[in-house]
Symmetry: C2
Subunit: 398 residues, 2 copies
């Protein structure tokens, strides 16, 4: 790897899923691209990740889908269950009909596997990968973006800020801060044999979401069924009380104590030594500052309830590259087209993710009763709630 400063068509700041997807898409369209990553390696912490067809359709176009499918699992169903009594509320078939409808499968996989696939693809496409390179600023100088880093200045026609939820580059165009939801996630990904009797074998080909008052638990298999992934999310009472230390393992156990057996069992399949407080931001009208454009979580961080964070970052990459065309250098026009196409859609996803979380976490009593009735009434062949998100045309069909 050449870590010396220099000049490329595009300088991508941030080597997470969104940054690498963008670098790959642009490099595949004939642009020279450098990716600057603060960390010493291109790796991801975390566990499982869901890839809906709005993202896998793009991976297919990029020629990466086979590798993604081999590294992951294509579940048969997405099942919603009540976290209190365990009963099934509704499900989404992820079968052949689903794949035909949306042109690509639903895939769940390890975050690090997706990142590796994207990193290898970037390397094959000739992307300059620069780890251990913290960016301090991006300024526009005439027709150039100048990316200042500990390793010196990188220049490009365009700088892409893909530096995530806590983006420093976003500060150049917005003074908003991440908004804490008061919810915290615990995750765990373990080899199936380690889980033993704690594992519900029947769930190996399903994504199961147990949803309940102020809490939910999601489980699915990874790596062709060799690993099993669990995510538990709950509202922290300590956060509500305004305490600094909140969301600890004691609160985890207390939050899920009144849940059904399967959910309480699932709590045993989590790492207890780390946790992810859940943040998002409100939509902002634009993502550009001169020759800097934000993408992914830097542009539109969202709560994870629609499992669309990575998917929307991949959509960003695809739209940005498609708007440029091969060898095109109208960076300003490309970024304008990118914003025009992406801001309304990602704002809708951000807003809907919040509402979807509220629906999952609705209180006991009338709220839960209505939610469960509504879910149970849904015809499993009715796709109106996901068409707007998964179908190729962006227009909502609802």
């Amino acid at each position: 790897m050449n870590a010396a400063p220099g000049s490329t068509d595009v300088v991508v700041v941030g080597g997470g899923i969104g940054g690498l997807a963008t670098a790959y898409a642009l490099a595949s369209s004939g642009h020279s691209v450098a990716v600057l990553e603060r960390a010493p390696e291109f790796t991801e912490v975390g566990a499982g990740l869901q890839m809906a067809p709005n993202a896998t359709r793009i991976l297919k176009e990029w020629g990466l889908l086979d590798e993604v499918v081999r590294a992951g699992v294509t579940p048969r169903r997405m099942v919603y269950r009540d976290a209190l009594d365990g009963s099934e509320l509704t499900h989404l078939d992820l079968d052949d009909g689903f794949v035909r409808r949306y042109g690509a499968p639903y895939v769940v996989m390890h975050r690090s596997d997706l990142l590796s696939i994207l990193a290898r693809a970037c390397e094959r496409a000739g992307v300059r990968m620069v780890p251990d390179c913290e960016v301090t600023d991006v300024v526009t100088d005439g027709d150039a973006a100048i990316v200042r880093s500990a390793r010196g200045e990188f220049r490009g026609g365009l700088a892409v800020g893909a530096d995530g939820l806590r983006s420093t580059l976003r500060g150049k165009l917005s003074d908003d801060e991440p908004i804490c939801s008061g919810y915290v996630a615990y995750r765990g990904a373990f080899p199936v044999e380690e889980l033993g009797s704690r594992l519900d074998k029947a769930a190996l080909d399903e994504v199961v979401a147990y949803i309940g008052p102020g809490r939910h638990l999601v489980q699915y298999a990874l790596r062709g069924g060799e690993m099993f992934n669990t995510v538990a999310v709950f509202k922290s009472p300590a956060y509500e009380r305004g305490e600094r230390d909140w969301g600890g393992p004691d609160e985890l156990d207390a939050a899920f104590a009144g849940s059904c057996d399967e959910v309480r069992q699932g709590i045993g399949s989590l790492w207890r030594d780390r946790r992810w407080p859940m943040y998002d931001r409100l939509p902002i009208p634009g993502w550009t500052d001169g020759r800097l454009v934000l993408t992914g979580d830097a542009a539109h961080p969202m709560l994870q309830y629609l499992a669309q964070g990575a998917c929307q970052a991949i959509e960003d990459a695809h739209v940005l590259a498609s708007g440029l065309g091969g060898g095109e250098t109208d960076w300003t026009g490309a970024v304008e087209r990118f914003e025009a196409e992406r801001t309304a859609r990602t704002a809708r996803v951000q807003n809907t993710a919040r509402v979807w979380g509220d629906i999952w976490h609705v209180d006991e009593g009338a709220g839960r009763m209505m939610r469960n009735e509504l879910f149970r009434l849904r015809d499993p062949r009715d796709y109106k709630y996901v068409d707007w998100l998964y179908a190729k045309r962006d227009e909502p069909r609802v």
Copy 2:
């Protein structure tokens, strides 16, 4: 009227709708009955009242339905609208199919008209009507109930406590108190010509319920369309804050300020000088103390959201009289059968009324969205939500 103490088969304490219905039912089955009413006249304060087919079917059997229908209105539809935007959410057809399904029509009428019809029916059936007669106690003496009043002792084989929400007789068998919901109702019943342009003429043949966050408004016509009835109910912020004086007209106006035009207009059709705080009680397992049995609101007071208070009191009267048979004097057995048949059903109505209110008053955001979606998805020909309440067999069909 003979107001002197004396002896009858049954002594009914309380001359409201439930007391008179019970007296009429028992007198029609051949029993001698006295009704003791604290007030100087058999009258009702209040405005409109809804009579669902579970009650009108009984009035039909009693030969009172024609008179009730002539005094009231048989609306064509019951319509639910969102109180914020006014849009229709769902409706229940109250047409010929409805009448065939349940064996009797839905009728709305003035409370005082129903009371007058029942009072006249009681007089025709030979019931001893004793106004201005406050009851101080009911004691059981061997096979007799002794009803002590300011006018002396009335004796019967059975005493029926129909003394309403704040029943003093209930204290003989339960130490519970009415539970305040923190909601308060304003009512108004005006001649149609007085309302002028404030009246939505289209609504004259409908029961319209505008439901919204912490508030609702119900409107329908009375007396063959000559009068128009409005009820507005809202959650009092002053009550929430623990204040003694709560639910005043200022709070009424504030609670409905953010509602749609039709609802804000409806607030102009209320009496502002009186109001009805809304109370209920929790179900209790039994209603008897020796030869005293409670009925109606004294036994199972409920929030008004299902409009079943008077209907359930009429069901009580019907079941109690049917269990006795003509001339039967097994009072103890009759009361046991009455409790066995009535406690579970009225507990369900009490509990469902609370939940139904919660559904009406659900907060904006995810709750309202789910409620509206659920209501809009409902097929207007689907009666599963009302069969358990309106159909002849008590067993729930859901």
